[in-house]
């Protein structure tokens, strides 16, 4: 028994190592292709600088141009905008998922807003909220809120009917069923919806910082575009990628901590 466990742990570890190795390999290949087409001069530096150039540019950004402040500004905006979206979308999604009436009432409006591009809200947002952080958070909010609401509603609608029937069989009233079955049963799915939408939230940072921003990763990228500093654009993109990846990892890790009972996993 003990030996088996050890063996099992060994394979589990190996699986993890392999997973990390493959993950790294993907990036290595990407950088290799990048090197191949830039160092050989196949692509002009204006369109795509070499890795070394980007690395030098990145160091310059951090050391001489306070890039860290831009990163923090962007994190703050995304975080605040997304938290507000989540705080409203989760209860709203639960309500839509539970009751037909509220779905009929709110559902179409949410779906309607969903199809409006977040960028189109910029003029309105500036008009309503000025050009400060709040306006940027609003864009993040508009970009994530409708989808998050619909994702949460969908999770709730998929609660196992049998579980609800068990509660009903003990004479549970609707309020109790929601509290004891619907919500606990939906939490893992809601957490996953948050993970997915937080990732998408990062893709809105450029849109949010497109106009009237004096800081932020998006601002750096737009400035770089103006002055043709291609290297800074790439740095910005890489940093956004890394931050998105970290967000995802935090959600994944906490998922495992919060929902140790979940059977969710890889199919193969």
């Amino acid at each position: 028994m003990h030996r088996h466990r050890k063996l099992h742990l060994y394979f589990e570890k190996e699986r993890k190592t392999r997973f990390i190795l493959f993950g790294i390999l993907g990036f290595v290949i990407l950088v290799a292709i990048w090197s191949l087409i830039t160092y050989t001069g196949l692509v002009k530096p204006l369109f795509l600088p070499t890795p070394t150039a980007v690395l030098e540019g990145t160091i310059d950004l951090f050391v001489n141009q306070n890039f860290m402040n831009d990163i923090i500004a962007s994190i703050y905006r995304i975080f605040a905008g997304f938290v507000i979206a989540a705080v409203i979308a989760i209860p709203l999604g639960i309500v839509i998922g539970i009751s037909k009436t509220s779905e009929a009432f709110v559902g179409p409006v949410v779906s309607f807003v969903r199809y409006m591009p977040a960028a189109a809200f910029i003029p309105l947002a500036i008009l309503w909220l000025g050009i400060g952080d709040v306006e940027k958070m609003f864009i993040i909010f508009i970009g994530t809120f409708p989808y998050l609401t619909l994702l949460v509603a969908d999770v709730v609608m998929n609660v196992d009917r049998n579980h609800i029937n068990v509660a009903r069989s003990f004479g549970a009233k609707n309020k109790t069923i929601i509290k004891e079955v619907v919500i606990p049963s939906s939490l893992p799915g809601i957490w996953d919806s948050l993970r997915i939408m937080a990732g998408i939230g990062w893709t809105y940072i450029i849109v949010a910082e497109l106009v009237a921003a004096s800081s932020g990763i998006g601002h750096v990228i737009i400035e770089a575009q103006r002055y043709l500093l291609t290297s800074n654009i790439i740095t910005g993109l890489i940093v956004i990628g890394i931050l998105g990846l970290i967000t995802d990892l935090i959600f994944r890790y906490s998922y495992k901590r919060f929902f140790p009972y979940s059977i969710k996993g890889k199919i193969l």
Binding site: V166, S169, F170, E180, Y261
Partner: protein, 270 residues
Amino acid sequence: MKAKLEVKNVYKVFLSRNKETPALSDMSFSIREKEFVSVVGPSGCGKTTLINLVAGFYAPTKGEILLNDKRIMYPGADRGVVFQKYTSFPWLTVLDNIKFGLKIINFPHKEREKIAKEYVKIVGLNGFENEYPKNLSGGMQQRVALARTLATNPDILLMDEPFGALDTQTRRFMQDLLLQIWKKTRKTILFVTHDVDEALFMADKVLVMSTRPGHIKDIVDVGLERPRNLKIEFSNKYIKLKEHIQKIITKESLKSLNEPIPETIKQLYQ
């Protein structure tokens, strides 16, 4: 003896997308206190519908169902339901699953733990109290479901093919466990199954249903001695009863068959 459960001229018609599906049609029977009654019938004849009606999940289209002479209107903890599907809550440990019903009926906090632990023992889940359902086999999941239902001490157990998804061996163990629990607690049990052997092995009385819309085709008094053991399945009496019930079910199944009657069945039962 007095009737515990009475099903009186019950009809149930389902409406879906402007289509009417009659599921039960003029079904009547009654169960006495402490009786173990099995229900068998062809597939889709309305067995689950019957359980759901008694559970109070929905009302009959016509007719009435009485429990202790009182008309069933809503679901309630006086009836304990065990479903065919595995229904333990994945986010609760075995012990918390068993406490679930007690929580719903607002049982005093302190005693929940004690009662739940008692039922852990009764259904043989010692040592698994703190496991999550994902780590349990099908048989153990149904033990959890059984304990969760028993913990609130219902008046009658309603079981809808509770062992239908288990392998033969596990099913045998669970049948044995249920009979022991029944002997100890002397609960009234309404037990739906599609397995004639299971119906006979467990029950005092077997209700044989017609094809859909379901009603009672025959009521068979089993009268085999207890405690039951597998040997009775080879007794003459048992075989006679089994043949009798099987014939009715086969005949009923054929009524809703849209193909020519298979040759094997023709020779045996026509």
